[in-house]
């Protein structure tokens, strides 16, 4: 056998050790610096939490695979370094081994696909709304692929329209708001996402994934926030020079607060329309 670690090998071993330690330290630092460092944001809604869980399963599985590859790679580089007089065995393959890792790799991705499909309904299908029926809410089938929420519960359906460079929200009762969306807590909110000019993408990280808006298409998503709070988001599809400032915000408030906000909005809109009508008459 002879000594495994000779001059240059020892140097390399040290370098790799330092590199590995630095990487590990970096990872730990990053992980403690913010809980958001190693997995996507997830707020108080099931679809976001589901995605986070699926991500973590895939992430830990990936760590195992990366660890295996790195392990074999670095071990080979230490253990099988050239030595005078040693000749490498001239192996050209091993059918059993190759079949083995082909099946192994296939199994990993099959398991991942399986888990994804098992978790999919929970992520994609709206939950039943926990709140008592909202006065203005319409129970409507979310089109395309997203099934309607379970019968008997009434979700709040909001139309989200993206345009350069602002988000507009149309509530079922005639209320409208821009950039900041106000929704009641514990209510299933179904979003119909549309675009007026170019492609945009609706994304509030803590409330689930992003959904592109394309002019001519309606996309669907939903969330049901179980806690109040404000959740920041933004347009995630490049939409022009103002793309970076096309932010969005969802504020989850109590049921009472929501109702009073909607009333105020309605009154303000009615007043504005009245004013507009008066002005139009004036000019006629």
């Amino acid at each position: 056998m002879g000594p495994i670690l000779r001059g240059h090998t020892r140097r390399l071993a040290l370098t790799l050790l330092v590199a590995a330690l630095a990487l590990a330290a970096g990872a730990v630092l990053a992980a403690t610096a913010g809980a958001d460092a190693i997995s996507p944001d997830a707020g108080p809604t099931k679809n976001a939490i589901d995605i986070d869980t699926l991500y973590k399963i895939a992430f830990y599985l990936a760590l195992v695979v990366i660890g295996l590859v790195w392990g074999v790679l670095f071990y080979s580089l230490f253990r099988f370094r050239a030595r005078r007089g040693r000749r490498a065995p001239q192996i050209t393959g091993n059918a059993a081994l190759e079949l083995g890792w082909t099946i192994g790799a296939s199994l990993i991705v099959i398991v991942l696909a399986g888990i994804t499909y098992i978790m999919l309904p929970g992520t994609k299908n709206p939950q039943s709304s926990g709140a008592p029926a909202l006065a203005e809410a319409r129970s409507q089938n979310a089109t395309l692929d997203q099934p309607p929420p379970p019968a008997g519960t009434k979700p709040l359906e909001i139309t989200v329209s993206g345009q350069q460079y602002i988000w507009r929200y149309q509530y079922p009762n005639g209320a409208v708001s821009f950039q900041q969306m106000i929704v009641p807590v514990d209510t299933t909110v179904v979003l119909s996402i549309k675009a007026n000019d170019v492609a945009h993408s609706w994304w509030i990280p803590k409330l689930g994934g992003k959904f592109d808006t394309l002019p001519g298409y309606t996309n669907k998503t939903w969330f049901k926030a179980t806690d109040t709070g404000t959740f920041d988001g933004r347009c995630a599809e490049f939409c022009g020079s103002g793309h970076a400032v096309m932010t969005a915000k969802v504020t989850v408030v109590g049921q009472q607060q929501y109702q009073s906000w909607v009333q105020t909005q309605k009154q303000q809109i009615q007043q504005a329309q009245k004013l507009a009508l008066q002005m139009r008459k004036q000019f006629q």
Binding site: G26, A30, A33, G34, D36, A37, I38, S39, P40, D41, I51, D52, A58, I66, V69, W70, V72, L77, F80, R81, A82, R86, A88, I91, T92, E98, W101, A105, S106, V109, L112, A113, T116, T123, K124, L144, D197, V198, A199, S201, P205, G209, K210, F211, D212, L214, P215, G216, Y217, T218, K220, D232, G233, A236, E237, F238, G240, S241, H243, A244
Partner: protein, 572 residues
Amino acid sequence: MATSEYTALRPQPAAGPSAAEIFVGELPRRRAGWIDWVTTTDHKKIGILYLFTTAFFFLLGGVEALLMRIQLGAPDNTFLDPVTYNQLFTLHGTTMIFMVVVPIAAGFANYLVPLMIGARDMAFPRLNMLSWWLLVFGGVTLYTSIFFSPPDAGWTSYAPLSNATFLPGHGIDAWILSLHLVGLSSILGAINFIVTIHNMRAPGMSLSRMPLFVWTILVYAYMIILAISSLAATLAMLLVDRNFHGTFFDPTQGGSPLLWQHLFWFMGHPEVYIMALPAFGMVSEIVPVFSRKPIFGYRAIVIATAGIAFLGMLVWAHHMFSTPLTTPVLGFFMLSSLAIAVPTGIKIFNWLATLWRGNIELRVPLLFVCGFIAQFVIGGATGVMLALFPVDWQLTDTYFVVAHMHYVLFGGALFAIFGGLYYWFPKMSGRMLSEGLGKLSFWIMVIGFNLTFLPQHSAGMSGMARRVYEYGDTGSLHAYNLASTIGSFILAMGILVTIANVFWSLRRGRRASPDPWQGNTLEWFTTSPPPAHNFDVIPTVRSLEPMKDIRRRVLEQEQPAVEAEPVAEPVG
């Protein structure tokens, strides 16, 4: 036929009247240096032209990246205005993908494929030169637009943003025409590679004895023909929409912006493998040479290469998981994307198995290749995570994707290409690159690369979208981005060390023998650099590793006469 005797077989410049008679009328007239270069039809010179051209574009793209990193080094920075920033990332992506990674493979392939298969040139030498000129003109077309209005719709130019209604400047038109030229260059090059590889192999070199780099170039060429001709049609449609009242992608006239995404990614994803496969081929050449062991599972690697290409044509909509598609469509593209991890994994395992129990000489080419394996596996793993479409809903269009694709294309493909540069530079120039500078460059690049791109995963998961010129100072975004910016400059220094190494070694490098690494393939049979006609005698190929056979035969012949005739050190 011995390598050591080889110099004696080279045509001598002034070997007397008889030699002159042979060559008169056969060799083209020698012209002044630069005219000779820009009119050459020698595949080796064209290969070198490709490499210098792509290196130039690589520096341009790199400077664009550094400017963007300066802007993103601090939250709410005002170093660049939004429009300039958008132009920069458009130019960066377009340059790096279409003018660096794809043609750099064509550069290596131009130089190496005829040598590796024992041919005297490519099948269509003049077409070959045209390919290079089209690449140059494509680059000029893109970059002259910076004096007018550079394109600013991203390298994907999504409709309807890329329509004339929203971006009336002619930057997008320059972008379209540039990609037409570069695409035509790639297609013509691909036809040339296919014809050369199928028809001009040395006697005895059956497909099952063909070097793996040549295999990947063959598959790369077929993929280019399928994908890039589709791109040409797609670009023509956008050109019509923008300039001649077309409505292919205009939703107000019944067109579909989703169609653009389908058509673009039908090219866009195969493009990723067009960039990655030649790099895989380089790895498959370098690993066995420096392990002193045959490649493990040659047949499996060939099948995996073809498998990746086949599946690579079927995964395009995984770039569109967040668009309005139905679940069965999402499911199909998730499964095909996951399936592609299997042949890719097979390749990685085969390379590891080649290293296993080898007699490993960790020279700079292998060092870069090991960097490739270690970093590419991270890019592969994040690729699998992104293939799960619910996960993709969170991560797509964020810095997580930016990090993923740089781990695949930079930490992966480009590291392998740097390994290829250190490996084949002696053959191309007749001089060795400095090992010391190579190692220095490698370690600086590894540190810089990982410092740049590892934190970008976290930035993406903390809500940082792609293609934004500024971000708010929330959470750890500033820390991640500052690390990235510092890392990008370290990475740039590492690259500069290799560039310095190239220019230093061209003049001062140690002279290279014909076969400095004890290689396996036929390019090492001829001198370094090879003569214009490549080989005086084309050997018959009897195995996958013809140079091993030749060295063995030389050794057998020399054994009896060992005292009489000492082996002369060949001069390059």
